[in-house]
Symmetry: C2
Subunit: 451 residues, 2 copies
């Protein structure tokens, strides 16, 4: 069966896969692979990779296709490795807060599997992405301000290298909390976007489900005050679990799309985790700071249903924005700056969006200094597409000028290779290229991405 | 001046440096370099490295010489780059919780510089090591259970590569909280022990000084109960800032060396950080768990002086152990295992130490699953030295068999290269060697270490 698929160009299947799963509605045009394979085990992945290596065929790893930077586009053809059929959850260790997952396991699938253990995996990019895909892009999302990103939550990876060899980045089966043994290969493969190898299992760090959770919403007179407030909450040391900004356009879109009735104003959605007693203190301090920043009402709720409604709306921000202009495409920017510069860059972005005559919303994981402008545009309109592209580049450069990064969590993929060069400089680029060249000497692993 | 030093073998100076700073009393014999240079700037480091590159001269980076695995030994001769004269603290950003330090800045120097800012740098290996050296070894220590290790607290590194090129691992001057831009070079250089380049500045993540701090001491009937208790405290989610184990031999040695009067029994030293109200809750929960594990007295103190006495004693554990057999050498093991396996491996280590007829203490950052046996032995006694070596290897292998690591925080250096091979396996070793070979093609950066 394996042989039947390999080597038989299968553009239509690939296209269907991309069509079904591909949220990649960005500026990157769809480039289907020549074939798609669905391996069932690491041994099959390894044999297939070795075949590709011998025949110099590009390999494009595919998780769930929720990536936003064209990462799964087969711009040089080749074989798409769809890993969704490898979907076992292995080696759950409740006492040690760790679990191992294959690439077909998504964030939601893992968390429902964990339901009765008292543990959860907090990294949450909204989309129900595969955990190995999240490791591949260095994903983060709403909870990162408290629990860290994939970088901090991946303990070990099993990786099939370009030539088919199987690497365990921290050694086979290891799941220690920390180590100084040799080079940090786990850290190197997290965020490598399929350009260094295929991740076939990820061992993850789990966290205890908090004793209690409170959700809160808080509207502000301006972007500036909302973001100033965020900076102060973080600086005051409140261990907030989520602190998300939505601008007034976004709130309006969410109200319509998700049936909420929030005041149409720049808004923070917050979540607090802790003991009952600890939560009271967190809430009290946060409310004080919101009041100092001109927010008149800080509404909070212990009701799980209420909280779920809030976060479902937040997670649907992308679709709510797309609904602003039906039939149009979406593109999400993703800069991250030192938190003190956040008010300035967000206010500027808002103005630039207006000046460029673009339609879009602003949402952000503001506790990390990371935010997104979600732009909706008519991709058939050459002028509008150009303005989107210019806006995106300019915003990236504004972030770089403030010592920030052009991508907080989506990755470089296809579209940000120029910005990466500006961000990391020539020696950094050369170092990355050297690493790539030695681990993937024939440039077969997701070629044309990142570097 | 630069030229006068370069190329002139200066063994005596080097020897003095190693003598003065070298805590490396381990099993590794001292191998002085052919010369020592004291560059004053990154440009000088870069020019010197380029000269060494042209002349194929090994480079040994030197921080403060507190490393415990022979990392600064010049086993193939070459030039020791003593970086202590580069000791500026740059670019402190209180609002963004970040600072940049040169290699001559130690942990204590940084924290006294920060005193009035409300911020601190928590990673604390006990020794007053250089922060760049700590980055080089992937150090951690007593606070890591709450604040993470160097891996989680280094934001950016300036590195002089073997050929003299200057690399900024996250891009020049960048200090964002998170990024998905290209390969994680910062993570790769943290823990590389001087084998990939010379770290000439480190940008670090700072933390808010906690509103209140409480120290606590708690004696147990056995190692097993003390460590069981640790596991339960961690699993219960108490955000303990420090949780250190000391066995009864260690407590006895500390009592004598530091003038304490603790009950001679397996003991936990703890520290809690938080708001006044939050601390009460942490203390209450912890005390409950200690009682369930048979501890009769849980003594805590808000007095800073009392706390300082406690942690000074803990930090002097190495010297207190050495004082058990004056004139003898010390060697510290450093395994780390999944926390559920900690009671078993520690009880076994204690027995093995006895069976081998060795003298030593046990201390541990047990919240991370990391502990040290500090052995004192007569290095002139071939048989005793052999027994130490066997004990160390066996303990490493016991940790590996439990899915742990042979080094939680000290690094591989000279002595653990065989254990690294067993830990990471042949493909992992080959991957590390490939990375080394492309970044340091002439094998000049601290040759013979790690790989
Ligand atoms: C509505 C929406 C909201 C989003 N919000 C966020 C957010 O808040 N934060 C955030 O971080 N991201 C966000 N994303 C982006 C997205 O969810 C992530 O990029 C995700 O981490 C990718 O996972 P995936 O399994 O879908 O990977 P894919 O999209 O399939 O692939 C992404 C990249 O990773 C590579 N890859 C995938 N799997 C593997 C593997 N097993 N081995 C090697 N390489 C692999 C691919 O080759 C590609 O380069 C959002 C996406 C959507 C659609
Ligand atoms: C009493 C005592 C207790 C200790 N307890 C702990 C503990 O609890 N936790 C812990 O993690 N460690 C502990 N250590 C070990 C020690 O403090 C660390 O290994 C420290 O991180 C090394 O820093 P250093 O500046 O002394 O580096 P050095 O000892 O000078 O060098 C160590 C290694 O790093 C390299 N290096 C140093 N500086 C640079 C640089 N600028 N660029 C590139 N490479 C460089 C060297 O080449 C060498 O390989 C302890 C040491 C002692 C003496």
């Amino acid at each position: 069966m394996l042989k039947a698929v390999v080597g038989e160009p299968n553009v239509s299947t690939a296209a269907v896969v991309l069509e079904q799963h591909g949220h990649d509605e960005s500026m990157h045009r769809c480039s289907p692979p020549d074939a798609v394979v669905w391996p069932q085990s690491v041994e099959q992945v390894s044999r297939l990779a070795a075949l590709c290596y011998d025949h110099r065929i590009p390999i494009i790893p595919f998780g769930t296709g929720t990536g936003l930077e064209g990462g799964v586009n087969a711009i040089r053809g080749g074989i798409c490795f769809n890993l969704t059929h490898m979907d076992r959850i292995l080696d759950l260790n409740v006492d040690d807060f760790s679990v191992t997952v294959e690439p077909g396991v998504t964030r939601k699938a893992l968390n429902s599997y964990l339901r009765d253990t008292g543990l959860w995996f907090p990294v949450d990019p909204g989309a129900d992405a595969s955990l190995c895909g999240m490791a591949a892009t260095g994903a983060s999302g709403t909870n990162a301000v408290r629990y860290g990103t994939m970088v901090e939550n991946v303990v070990n990876l099993e990786v099939v290298l370009a030539n088919g060899q199987i690497l365990h980045t921290s050694g086979q089966g290891r799941r220690f909390r920390k180590s100084s043994a040799g080079y940090n290969l786990t850290g190197l493969f997290v965020g490598s976007e399929g350009t260094l190898g295929l991740i076939t299992t990820a061992t993850l760090r789990l966290h205890g489900i908090p004793e209690a959770t409170v959700g809160a919403v808080c509207a502000f007179p301006s972007i500036q005050t909302a973001v100033d407030c965020t900076v102060q909450i973080i600086q005051s040391g409140v261990p907030v679990a989520r602190i998300e900004f939505l601008d007034e356009v976004m709130i309006d879109a969410c109200n319509k799309y998700s049936g909420l009735t929030n005041a149409v104003a720049p808004t923070l959605f917050l979540e607090f985790h802790g003991s009952q007693q600890g939560l009271e203190e967190q809430l009290r301090r946060t409310e004080e700071i919101t009041q100092q920043n001109g927010s008149s009402h800080f509404v909070w709720s212990e009701e799980l249903e209420e909280q779920n409604r809030l976060w479902a709306a937040r997670h649907n921000a992308w679709y709510a924005t797309l609904a602003l202009r039906p039939g149009c495409k979406g593109y999400s920017t993703d800069v991250c700056v030192p938190i003190s510069r956040l008010p300035e860059i967000m206010v500027q972005a808002k103005e630039d969006m207006k000046t460029s005559g673009l339609t879009g919303t602003i949402v952000g994981h503001v506790g990390d200094g990371n935010f997104h402008c979600i732009l909706v545009f008519n991709s058939e309109d050459a002028d509008e597409s150009r303005r989107v592209e210019e806006f995106v580049k300019q915003l990236g450069r504004n972030a770089l000028a403030m010592r920030g990064t052009c991508t907080g969590e989506h990755g470089i993929g296809l579209g940000k290779r120029q910005l990466l060069k500006e961000e990391i400089g020539p020696v950094g680029m050369e170092t990355m290229r050297q690493i790539k060249s030695v681990l993937d000497p024939k440039n077969l692993m997701n070629p044309g991405k990142v570097l």
